[in-house]
């Protein structure tokens, strides 16, 4: 006879997640964001001018698409390598992670959290090693423009087997003779002024926007949380100095600061843009965390921790910080949306990375050439993404608010 398992007390996280799922609008927005991530990760699967399978006559089977996936000359921006390795890692490690995750569900809470932490850590580790390996060993993929090659081979009377992704265009290679074409069955959204397929660029632009959003926010939240925690915990001189620095940073209008910093830099890459956004935005989370720390450091559990002889780093980062993160989480979710907007603005003004297929850049091209599809498509993409993220942000905010519990 076994004792029935006692029901577990819901943790804070369980409550918040449960609350979030009761808000259907936010949940659908979160699904939308997931779809965007899917689009970003699967971009080369959907659009590439390299065929998955290629065979001329009775020749050997070739797989140019797979070869091109880690070509650092073609995918010269770190963003694309990041997503391409993520794609492969998901396919290879994803199912195993999923299975292990499911199996750990039967464990009691403590070992389950530990187990899942290990699984997630190992998965990310494998992916990072993979990414590092890819970046450490550059190689080049075949440079042929396959659709053209196919035509010329067929002209010689040979059989060609070629299976392309649904959109057989590359986001880089343009045909100058086919610039600014209107929408057609070949180019659904037409071509830009260099003759590149706009739909493909839009797809790959998703990667740019999401990367900028997530990484810029991760960067400045980390920075802001550490600085704010120090200011709030120690107070006094430390607080005073940090507060003055924050005041200096926030009294310059942030768009102007971003644009002026950008015009200092030559050869801006997407990483510069991340750092620029982070450099002007860290003050928000810093001030939130500082305020929380000022409140929390007076509470009994901190006094208890001090009495127990915990070191200061342990008290700050293990005891107080987890309790101070709620407001930061909300501001971070909204921050992703605003970071995406800032990046689009910079690219639109020509201050972004000139080589990236970012939405702002497509918008600018559309504006200067007066082609409507090139204005509407990236414009709606920005609108939808930012709206979805803001809806998710609202959901998180409400879910964290005990007064709004449903």
């Amino acid at each position: 006879m076994t004792e029935p398992k006692p029901p577990e007390d819901p943790t804070w996280l369980d409550i918040v997640v449960g609350q979030f799922f009761r808000r259907s609008l936010s949940v659908s927005a979160a699904l939308g964001v997931l779809v965007l991530w899917g689009l970003a990760i699967l971009a080369p699967v959907m659009a590439s001018n390299k065929p998955f399978v290629w065979r001329v006559g009775d020749g050997p089977l070739q797989f140019p698409w797979f070869k091109s996936l880690f070509d650092q000359i073609f995918f010269e921006n770190g963003v694309d390598l990041f997503f391409n390795t993520l794609l492969v890692a998901l396919v290879v490690v994803g199912p195993a992670v999923f299975l292990l995750w499911r199996r750990s569900a039967s464990l009691p809470r403590r070992p389950r959290t530990l187990r899942r932490g290990w699984i997630a850590g190992a998965a990310v580790g494998i992916w990072l090693v993979f990414l590092g390996g890819v970046m450490a060993f550059p190689y080049q993929a075949p440079k042929e423009v396959y659709p053209l090659l196919e035509k010329s081979v067929r002209a010689t009377g040979q059989e060609v087997l070629a299976i392309y992704p649904p959109i057989p265009h590359s986001f880089r290679d343009g045909d100058i003779g086919r610039a600014l074409q209107p929408s057609s069955s070949d180019h659904w959204l037409g071509t830009d002024s260099s003759g590149r397929d706009v739909l493909t660029r839009l797809l790959f632009g998703t990667r740019v926007s999401l990367t900028v959003g997530v990484f810029a926010v991760a960067l400045y939240v980390t920075l802001g949380v550490i600085i704010g925690a120090l200011a709030g915990y120690f107070g006094g001189w430390v607080d005073l100095v940090i507060q003055r620095v924050i005041e200096v940073v926030i009294c310059v209008p942030s768009l102007f600061l971003v644009l002026s910093v950008a015009s200092f830099l030559t050869e801006r890459s997407i990483f510069h843009i991340l750092f620029i956004i982070a450099a002007v935005s860290w003050t928000g989370p810093a001030r939130l965390v500082r305020a929380e720390f000022l409140r929390l450091r007076e509470l009994d559990f901190v006094a208890a921790a001090r009495a127990a002889g915990f070191s200061q780093p342990v008290i700050i980062f293990q005891e107080i910080l987890p309790n101070a993160l709620g407001p930061v989480l909300v501001s971070a979710t909204f921050g992703v949306a605003s970071a995406i907007l800032v990046e689009s603005t910079m690219s639109f003004l020509g201050l972004g990375d000139a080589t990236l297929p970012s939405w702002g850049q497509i918008l600018n091209n559309g504006r200067s050439s007066g082609v409507w599809t090139m204005i509407l498509a990236p414009g709606s993409a920005i609108f939808v993404t930012v709206s979805l993220l803001n809806l998710v942000g609202e959901g998180v905010r409400d879910a964290l608010d005990p007064k709004l519990r449903k």
Partner: protein, 637 residues
């Protein structure tokens, strides 16, 4: 913590902020201008207070002062100037009103000798005069403007200039109650010293920018002095073909009583006034003796001129001229269609959208006139030969052969121009029509790169070579003019072509002012640019090796070639037309072989104007338009 220490810290914070703002001001300016350009914020248009009056004019009829000039020309032996044959504005027109035009980027300043780009000389046509003007029908002739006589008794070594009397300087824009007002606001007449001061500026080694790039044209000028208030004598040590065009085309009177004085009216130290001149307090305003008075310049927004009631010569056609700074090329057409501009040139994107493949009435309005103007400007990509990547001529030729000039010409520039193979305009007899541009041939480019030692040893897709014991990959940055979308398109096409031959290129779009600064500091791998050519070619400024090390000169790419030096020097001494052409052709062939630039194309500019404008007369000159000739056919509705 004490209260005073808190205050001190707060003060420190604000000081830090002030420092940041100070450093950023320049950049912020640029950003603000960008935003203004996009928003299309525009200043108030000042309409003429009086209604335009019809001014009857017939083409053949000369003005009294022209007749007088013509009579006087026979006085001196060895006269260089030719009699006037027509007025500037010959069409029947109405005088008055406001001419509204546009310029695509901000001007650098309005000091003629401190502004290197052609727009500086263009503004000076409004507010200043030269010694003589080029013939409108025959550009080889010079007619009297400020000089009523220019004679050379010994055939080209000594020149005597007689200046027109009664020409009044504009009043500088200084407040009447400012300490310097008593000095600056005096009535002043044009005297010989004002011309000598221009020569002082060109000869002063401390002065940079345009003065520095003109300096080599005046190397042969050994002495210049005023004989009396209206007579000047110049002595050249050698007869050079460049002497006369430089004297007549590049010398304009400059007021010593302004540019050698500080704002309070105190004279600068004789030894260092040149340094002060570079940053002179009046550089953002213009002053001269010309038909229009400089009124104001709001950076990023407008330059305004108004008619000079005391002008000595042919009355100006307009009461006001507004030159709007419109960086957004879309705005040119938008504002033109809204009749907020009287005429505008069209960029390729706009030409494609508005004109290409369509038929009149243009833009759906029968009152719009379209004309196409040839230009003397030619476009190129420059390679910095001081950098090891571009030191080999085979590499430079490969870079040219990977550049699909014909395709870009036809698709990006809509066929409005022609691909060139050398450094002269196609209309010029100097251009050797037998030399065809290098073909667009990626295979040949690959072969040339391999031959020059650039191979992909680590098979990462980018060619590399061991230079000074270090393996260098062939990667470079191409500086492009950021405000124009054509350049971005060109760069993105060129980038892919270069990649396919194993070269990695990054485009770097920059502001015009930044580009000029980096060119002068030689801080670039390559850049896209254009030269506005002169009718009489002179090769010293851009190509002579002596210019390679001189700061502020125009040999930005550090091109050094002894044959080029020999031809450039020879051309200055060759007065015979066939000998000149022979030298030019030799030079053309040499540059075609060396490819210090990737020569791109020469452009035709489409211009649209409203029916109330008289036909826009076109003259082959640098800068290409003498806008004083424009006039209103009828009052603007």
């Amino acid at each position: 913590m004490t209260r005073s220490s808190q205050t001190a810290l707060q003060l420190g914070g604000f000081l830090l902020l002030a420092a940041i703002l100070l450093v950023n001001t320049r950049q912020l300016d640029q950003v603000e201008q960008r935003l203004i350009a996009l928003e299309g914020k525009e200043p108030r248009v000042i309409e003429a207070p009086t209604a335009p009056v019809a001014a009857p004019a017939t083409a053949s009829e000369l003005l009294p002062w022209m007749e007088a000039d013509n009579k006087g020309l026979s006085r001196n032996a060895g006269e260089v100037l030719s009699p006037h044959t027509r007025r500037l504005v010959t069409a029947t027109h109405v005088r008055g009103g406001t001419l509204r035009r546009q310029f695509g980027s901000d001007t650098r300043n309005l000091n003629l000798y401190m502004n290197n780009s052609t727009d500086g000389t263009e503004w000076a046509r409004y507010y200043n005069n030269r010694l003589a003007y080029r013939g409108l029908e025959n550009p080889d002739l010079w007619h009297p403007e400020l000089a009523i006589s220019l004679s050379t008794p010994d055939g080209g070594l000594t020149y005597r200039i007689e200046l027109r009397k009664g020409v009044k300087w504009h009043k500088p824009l200084v407040a009447a109650d400012s300490p310097g007002a008593a000095w600056f606001l005096r009535d002043r007449e044009l005297v010989a010293d004002d011309v000598l001061f221009a020569l002082d500026i060109i000869k002063n080694e401390q002065i940079t920018a345009r003065a520095a790039s003109l300096r080599n044209y005046f190397e042969a000028l050994t002495s210049y002095r005023a004989i009396d208030d209206h007579t000047i004598e110049l002595v050249f040590k050698e007869r050079l073909t460049s002497n006369l065009p430089a004297l007549l085309g590049d010398v304009e009177p400059m007021p010593r009583w302004l540019y050698q004085y500080d704002e309070q009216g105190h004279r600068y130290d004789e030894a260092t006034w040149g340094l002060k001149f570079n940053e002179h307090w009046y550089n953002n305003k213009g002053i001269g003796v010309g038909p229009y008075l400089f009124e104001r310049w709001e950076p990023g927004t407008v330059i305004e001129f108004k008619a000079n009631p005391d002008y000595w010569g042919e009355s100006p056609s307009f009461d006001h001229i507004m030159v709007y700074t419109l960086k957004d090329q879309q705005a040119w057409v938008r504002k033109f269609k809204a009749k907020e501009l009287d005429y505008t040139n069209l960029q390729p994107e706009q030409y494609r959208a508005e004109i290409k493949g369509k038929s009149p009435p243009w833009m759906g309005d029968a009152n719009v006139t379209l004309s196409e103007h040839p230009t003397l400007s030619w476009f190129y990509i420059a390679w910095n030969q001081a950098r090891p990547l571009f030191a080999d001529k085979r590499v430079r030729r490969a870079l040219t052969m990977a550049f699909d000039r014909e395709g870009l010409m036809n698709n990006v520039y809509n066929g409005l121009g022609a691909v060139i193979s050398g450094p002269f305009p196609l209309q010029s007899p100097c251009y050797d029509q037998a030399i065809k541009p290098w073909p667009y041939d990626l295979e040949a480019a690959r072969a040339l790169l391999t031959e020059a030692g650039w191979t992909d040893t680590d098979s990462d897709g980018v060619r590399d070579k061991v230079i000074d014991g270090k393996k260098v990959p062939f990667e470079f940055t191409l500086m492009i003019y950021g405000s124009s979308t054509e350049y971005e398109t060109i760069a993105s096409i060129y980038r892919e072509a270069l990649l396919s031959v194993g070269i990695r290129m990054r485009p770097d779009p920059v502001e015009w002012s930044t580009q000029q600064k980096r060119q002068q500091e030689r801080d670039f791998d390559g850049y896209t640019g254009a030269w506005a050519a002169d009718l009489e070619p002179d090769l010293m400024q851009i190509w002579h090796s002596s210019e390679a090390d001189s700061p502020g000169s125009s040999n930005y790419i550090s091109f050094r070639n002894s044959d080029a030096d020999r031809i450039a020097e020879g051309l200055r001494r060759a007065f015979d037309v066939s000998e000149r052409n022979k030298l030019c052709h030799e030079f053309h062939a040499l540059l075609h072989e060396e490819q210090p630039y990737t020569f791109f194309f020469q452009r035709r500019t489409p211009v649209v104007s409203w029916s109330w404008m008289n036909e826009l007369e076109y003259q082959l000159e640098n800068p290409n338009r003498d806008n004083r000739r424009y006039s209103f056919r009828e009052a603007r509705p």
